[in-house]
Each structure stands twice: as structure tokens, then as C-alpha cells.
């Protein structure tokens, strides 16, 4: 039986198990004095039976699907007498066998290959039979076991809830393990990179030119992997963005939370949040085609040298992009400040602005700082706007009118197109990613910590 069919059959069995469990519980209750004589509600008996019927079978099926191919391959390759030494050669051979078994390979077919393909087909065939039999026996057998155990004394609810708790835990773990998995893969690739480029050169080198020579005598053969220009570029663009976003976002939040009437608020707040819904790529070409030339012309009219792709253009537009982040988070925090504090300040004869400046904002400050730090990590991770508006040249500069590049942009350019995954040029992307990951992690950690501290304030 094919796996999807088996899966559908299994679902059907689970439904049947629920129904029979439910009705058996009702029947058991009838002899013992009604549903109230049961230890749990009848539906819990149904779910209990269904879980026994479905869960082990599903787990086994999942494991089977994961390990199936590896085992069959090992068996097929084990049966071949003179196989190639290298892993790549073995991969090629196995791919040929697979193609032959699927009927795709024609020409140059040795009898040995023919045998292996037949072996593969028969293994797959018997594997499928074993799978079907195992799953069905497991499902029906365990379902029947649970069905027979139903009695008014059995505490089905507690068992079901225990299983539910484990399922919830598994879901929570999935997210955590994904993070750990990404981190580990980035970490190991980075370690490979650091084998060819020293850590100190990467962290403190002032020159970024990720080239690797194919021949020793090639022009420009010396690659340079100093990440400092990238991090200063990131810092410069993010700083400009925060310079725009924090004051504008904070003040619009103060206006919306403290001064705006109901009508203005109901219109302005959704409008502001539309800004957050604009795709960054749209911001990107807005920055590249409108803002950057405008800044260049403006700078030239003032007699300054400006390149047509500048950190300023990218930073300004990125700042606009982050405004709703800052304003929406700050607005929530300001609204969370108890009205009694405002009343207290007003009752002492503070003006509205004194109340906001001296009581509301200080009370909301930790939350606002948390929001701003989250916005910073957003700015650091932003890529599209910088790709389009700030250029690709890794200049080590603090002049916002020059073009700069950021960590994320370099990761993109390193990995776009065909790449070989054993050259330092490509592996550099992982090292940059690791650095980025660590720095945003630290920022988020600080932000969460600050927000947590804020929560304790009014308790």
C-alpha cells in the first residue's frame, strides 16, 4: 500500500477507535448507573482509545519514512561487490541504480547494475508490505487493547491530558530545536571558515574583499576578509535609521496616546500601521530611485561630494520603515501607564506636557527602551533597502554621503548565484551570519530583560 493511502486508512481507524471507545464507555456506564458513574466523561474514553490506536502507529510510520531510504541504500550497496572507493562515486552509482529502477536510464547498462536495480525494487516492494502490515497491526492491536480496558474506574481524562501535555511540550521543543539547529549549522560552517581565515583577521581586519584566487598568479589573488567595514557600515546605516525612527516614532506615540482625540486616533493608528505592512523591497526601490538621487543632488548643490548610493538614503528610508515599530510598541507601553499616575500629577498642578514628560514617559521608559532595542535588531537585520540604496562597496567610513555596505548585504552577494561550498568566499557568509546572530541575540536579550523589569514596576 502507498504511504498516503496508509495514512488515510490510519486516520479512518482513529475515527473508528474514537467512536467505539465512546460508545463502549456509554455502554459501561449504563450498567453502572449512568454517565456520572464513569471516572471521566465518555468523550475522554473515546480520545483515549483513539490515541492508543493512532499515536504509536503514527510515530512508527514517521520513523519508518525517515530511515527507510538509508536502510535500503545500505542493503543495496552492501550487496554490490566492486563498488567505488570515493563517496562521490558511490553517490553516482546509487543514483544510476535508482534511475534504472525507475526506468529512466537507458544505455550503458551493465548486468551488475541491472541486478542492483532489481534488488532495489524488490526491497522497496517488500518494505512497503512490511510497513503496511506493521502499522495496521500496531494500530488495530493497541486500539483493541485500549478498547478492552475501558471500565468505569479507568481514569481516561488524566491519561489523555498527560498525552496532550506531552504533545504541547513537543511543539514547544520544535521551535527551540530549530533555533539550535540553525545555530549549530552556522557555527560549524563558520568553524570551517576560520580554518582558512584566522579569527583575528576576520574580527579586526579593516579590508573586505572576498575574492579567492583560482590560480596563484591571478590578478587580485589576495582575498581579504576583514569584517570591520561591514560592521561599521551596518552600524552607520542603523544609527541613521534609529536617528529618524526613535524621535518620530516616540513623539507620534505620545501624540496618539496622550493628546489625540478618539477620532484622530482611530484614523491615524491604522494608517501608521500600514507603513509596517509595506514590503521592504518597495521601500528599497523608493530609497534607490527617489531618495538617493535627491540626497545626491542636494549635497552637490551645497558643494558636497555625494555618491549616488549613500548610507544616508538607506538609513533615512529604513528609519521610516521602523517608525511604526517604535510608535506602536511605545504607544502600548504608554497606554499601560495607569491613569492614576496621570491623575496624581495633574492633581498636583502639572500641565499636560509636564505630566507626560516627568511622569508618564519615565514610567514607560523601560518599556520604550525595550521597544527601541527590538527596532534596532530589526534595523540591523534589514537587507533589501541597503542592497538597493547603499551600494556594495565596503568602505570604511563614517561619512553618511558615501556608499557603504552591511553584513546582511554581503551575505546576500556572497550566496547569490552558483557557489562552491568549500571556498572561504562562501563560508564567509556563515561567519558573518554567526556574528549577526550573536549581536541581535544579545540585543534581544537586553530588550527582553528591560521589558521584564518594567513589568515588575506596578505590582
Amino acid at each position: 500500500m502507498q504511504t498516503p493511502t496508509l495514512f488515510a486508512l490510519l486516520l479512518l481507524l482513529i475515527l473508528v477507535a474514537y467512536g467505539t471507545g465512546f460508545s463502549r464507555a456509554i455502554a459501561a456506564a449504563r450498567s453502572g448507573g449512568g454517565v456520572r458513574s464513569l471516572a471521566s466523561l465518555p468523550s475522554y474514553y473515546g480520545v483515549h482509545t483513539a490515541l492508543w490506536c493512532g499515536l504509536p502507529a503514527l510515530i512508527i510510520l514517521g520513523c519508518w519514512l525517515i530511515f527507510d531510504d538509508a536502510i535500503i541504500r545500505a542493503m543495496v550497496m552492501g550487496a554490490i561487490a566492486d563498488k567505488p572507493e570515493s563517496i562521490a562515486g558511490q553517490n553516482l552509482l546509487y543514483a544510476q541504480i535508482q534511475n534504472l529502477a525507475a526506468g529512466n536510464l537507458v544505455g550503458n547498462v551493465t548486468p551488475q547494475l541491472q541486478d542492483a536495480a532489481a534488488h532495489l525494487t524488490s526491497l522497496r516492494e517488500s518494505g512497503r508490505w512490511m510497513q503496511t502490515a506493521l502499522i495496521l497491526i500496531l494500530s488495530i492491536g493497541l486500539g483493541a487493547y485500549a478498547f478492552l480496558r475501558i471500565s468505569p474506574e479507568m481514569r481516561a481524562r488524566e491519561k489523555v491530558e498527560k498525552v496532550l501535555r506531552i504533545i504541547l511540550l513537543a511543539c514547544a521543543c520544535a521551535a527551540i530545536f530549530t533555533t539550535v539547529g540553525i545555530l549549530l549549522s552556522v557555527l560549524f560552517e563558520s568553524l570551517r571558515f576560520f580554518q582558512s581565515v584566522p579569527v583575528t583577521e576576520f574580527l579586526f581586519g579593516l579590508h573586505w574583499s572576498p575574492q579567492m584566487a583560482l590560480r596563484a598568479d591571478q590578478v587580485g589573488s589576495s582575498g581579504a576578509f576583514g569584517a570591520v567595514p561591514l560592521f561599521t557600515g551596518t552600524l552607520l546605516v542603523s544609527a541613521i535609521a534609529m536617528f529618524v525612527a526613535v524621535p518620530v516614532g516616540l513623539m507620534s506615540a505620545i501624540y496618539l496616546a496622550e493628546y489625540a482625540g478618539k477620532k484622530v486616533r482611530s484614523v491615524a493608528k491604522p494608517l501608521l500601521e500600514i507603513l509596517a505592512g509595506v514590503p521592504t523591497v518597495v521601500y528599497g526601490f523608493f530609497a534607490a530611485l527617489t531618495v538617493a538621487p535627491f540626497i545626491r543632488d542636494l549635497a552637490q548643490s551645497m558643494g558636497l561630494q555625494a555618491s549616488s548610493e549613500s548610507a544616508l538614503a538607506a538609513g533615512l528610508v529604513m528609519g521610516v520603515m521602523i517608525i511604526p515599530f517604535v510608535s506602536s510598541l511605545s504607544d502600548d507601553v504608554i497606554n499601560a501607564v495607569p491613569q492614576s499616575l496621570r491623575d496624581g500629577a495633574l492633581g498636583l498642578g502639572s500641565t499636560k506636557s509636564e505630566t507626560v514628560r516627568k511622569v508618564v514617559i519615565p514610567a514607560a521608559l523601560p518599556g520604550i527602551v525595550g521597544g527601541v532595542l527590538l527596532a534596532v535588531s530589526r534595523a540591523i537585520g534589514e537587507t533589501m533597502i541597503v542592497v538597493m540604496a547603499a551600494g556594495l562597496a565596503a568602505n570604511l567610513t563614517a561619512n553618511p554621503l558615501e556608499s557603504v555596505t552591511t553584513v546582511t548585504v554581503q551575505i546576500v552577494t556572497l550566496l547569490v548565484g552558483d557557489q562552491e561550498f568549500d571556498s572561504p568566499k562562501t563560508l564567509a557568509a556563515f561567519a558573518l551570519g554567526l556574528m549577526l546572530f550573536i549581536s541581535t541575540l544579545i540585543l534581544n536579550f537586553i530588550a527582553l530583560h528591560v521589558v521584564k523589569k518594567y513589568r515588575e514596576q506596578y505590582d
Partner: protein, 302 residues
């Protein structure tokens, strides 16, 4: 706070119904006169006016949008007097108190009519600036609301914004004096730089009183200042009100009739947005003139 007061206004008709519909049939026929509807409260009995009035209110009406929360209330509060305002929940006593320093201005849709004067000056006059007004008429709220700042900064907040102290030493003196008068100095003098929110409930409320008297107001309004406190802290604050009377005029809203009897010279009884009776506190509690007052203080409703 806002929503509570708003609800109180809206709840007036509902309560009217409850009183007449549920209380009436349960009472013996002889007492049926004691519970009345709004229309039956013709005018305030007792002595709402006094000669040396600090605050003079005439024909005050307060509306929350369409709902009227206060109906035609006239009352004087004498200099250095403690006036207690009592009455069932939703009777408008807090709303009335908040008119005296225009705290109702902060509530959207709230409208105040009538003549209210402080030392003869109109409180709701067109040229009146609420900022100096609120500095003259301080307020202590139901729930202690210290700012999330240090104890020192809480008390120094008012003097700072009003520019009362020009030098640090002067400010220190004001802070110490205010805390001493609020009876909190000995408990906090060693930790003035610790957050005010870290104090106990009773201490927080005394801190709020210290904060209010630090700007040297002439009148202090207290809106159920002890409702969140235990009996010991309550006793401490009542003692404090006694001491403060020498220098300040105090209007206090309270749900505790014992408290009203202990701290005030005059008591005003509100019912359904109307002022039913004002008299010397002793008269109100021993020999009330109005049936409704008697019904309330003897615990028959409210």
C-alpha cells in the same frame, strides 16, 4: 478611574429602580416613606451654607454626555474645616469632589454648570488657569498612586514643577517638612532614594499626602483615601487629617460612616446625585433631619 465615574453616572437610574423596587416591598408599611425616588428629594435640608466659606458652590449640575450625575447642589466648605461627603455608591460624591479642582476636565464629555468659587474667585471662570488652581486645591486619590520615582522625588515633584524651591537645601527642607507632617519621615528618612512604589499601602498613601502638602495647597480633597488600607493605616491617616485641619481646608469622600464621624466637623449626605442633607457631623449621626439620611446611617440601604 475614568470609567468608574462614568459608570456611576449611568448607574443612577438603575439604582433608583433597585431601591424602590426591591427595598420597598420588604419594608414594613410604616417605613415606606423613608425610601424615596429622585423627585422626592426637593431641596437640601440642614445648613449647607456657612459664613466663612473657603469654597462656595451654588446650583452645581454635572453631566456625563447626556446623563446628569449631579443635580443642583449648593454647599459651602468653611475655612480650616473638614467636610465629609457620604452616600451610597454612584451618588455623585466623588464627581462633586472632582469639580472642586477641575479634575473632571480630564474626562471626555463631562460638563460642569453652576457657580463654584474659591476665596470668591470663580473656579470655572473663562480666564482661570487650572494649573495654579490645582496647586491651591490638592488631591489625594482612592488608590495610592506614588510615581515610579524615589521617595524624595515623589515629594519634590510638586515644588519642582511650580518652582517653589530655588535651592537644593530649600527643597530638602520642604521634603522633610512634608514627610514629617504626613507622619512618614521617621519611617523613610534612611531610604529617601528608594522607589516610592516599594512602600506598603498605608505608607504609599501617606507619601501621596506628603506629595500633596509639599506644594502648600489651601484645600486638600481626599477621595476615599483609606479604602485600600487596613485599620491601622486608616487610623494613622485619620490622625493625620486631624493634624492637617489646623492649616488646611479638607473635603473628604468616604464610605465609612465611622470615619466621617471621627474626622469631620460637617457632613454632607448625597443621594442619587442630589445633596440631601448637610449638618454638623454630630447632628447628622445622632439626629438626622432627613428620612433618607437616617435610613442610610442606620444601614437600611446603601
Amino acid at each position: 478611574m475614568t470609567s468608574m465615574t462614568l459608570n456611576a453616572g449611568a448607574a443612577v437610574p438603575a439604582q433608583d429602580k433597585t431601591n424602590s423596587a426591591t427595598d420597598l416591598p420588604n419594608k414594613p408599611a410604616t417605613e415606606s416613606t423613608s425610601v424615596k425616588t429622585q423627585e422626592d428629594i426637593a431641596e437640601t435640608v440642614g445648613s449647607p451654607f456657612c459664613d466663612e466659606a473657603k469654597l462656595r458652590m451654588r446650583n452645581v449640575n454635572v453631566f456625563y454626555g447626556e446623563a446628569q450625575a449631579i443635580h443642583d447642589v449648593s454647599l459651602d466648605i468653611g475655612r480650616n474645616q473638614v467636610v465629609a461627603m457620604i452616600g451610597p455608591s454612584g451618588c455623585g460624591k466623588s464627581t462633586f469632589l472632582r469639580c472642586l479642582n477641575r479634575m473632571n476636565d480630564t474626562i471626555e464629555g463631562c460638563r460642569v454648570e453652576g457657580d463654584l468659587t474659591l476665596d470668591g474667585e470663580a473656579i470655572y471662570g473663562p480666564k482661570v488657569d487650572v494649573v495654579p488652581l490645582r496647586a491651591r486645591v490638592g488631591m489625594v486619590f482612592q488608590k495610592p498612586n506614588p510615581f515610579p520615582k524615589s521617595i524624595y522625588d515623589n515629594v519634590a515633584y510638586g515644588p519642582k514643577i511650580h518652582g517653589i524651591a530655588s535651592r537644593r537645601a530649600e527643597l530638602d527642607e520642604i521634603v522633610e517638612n512634608s514627610l514629617r507632617r504626613a507622619g512618614l519621615w521617621d519611617e523613610v528618612k534612611d531610604r529617601l532614594d528608594k522607589p516610592g512604589t516599594g512602600l506598603s499601602g498605608g505608607q504609599q498613601q501617606r507619601l501621596c499626602i506628603a506629595r500633596a502638602i509639599a506644594v502648600s495647597p489651601e484645600v486638600i480633597l481626599m477621595d476615599e483615601p483609606c479604602s485600600a488600607l487596613d485599620p491601622i493605616a486608616t487610623a494613622r491617616i485619620e490622625e493625620l487629617i486631624h493634624e492637617l485641619r489646623e492649616n488646611y481646608t479638607i473635603a473628604i469622600v468616604t464610605h465609612s460612616m465611622q470615619q466621617a464621624a471621627r474626622v469631620s466637623q460637617r457632613t454632607a449626605y448625597f443621594h442619587l446625585g442630589k445633596l440631601v442633607e448637610v449638618n454638623d457631623t454630630e447632628t447628622v449621626f445622632t439626629n438626622p433631619e432627613h428620612d433618607l439620611t437616617e435610613a442610610y446611617i442606620t444601614g437600611r440601604f446603601g
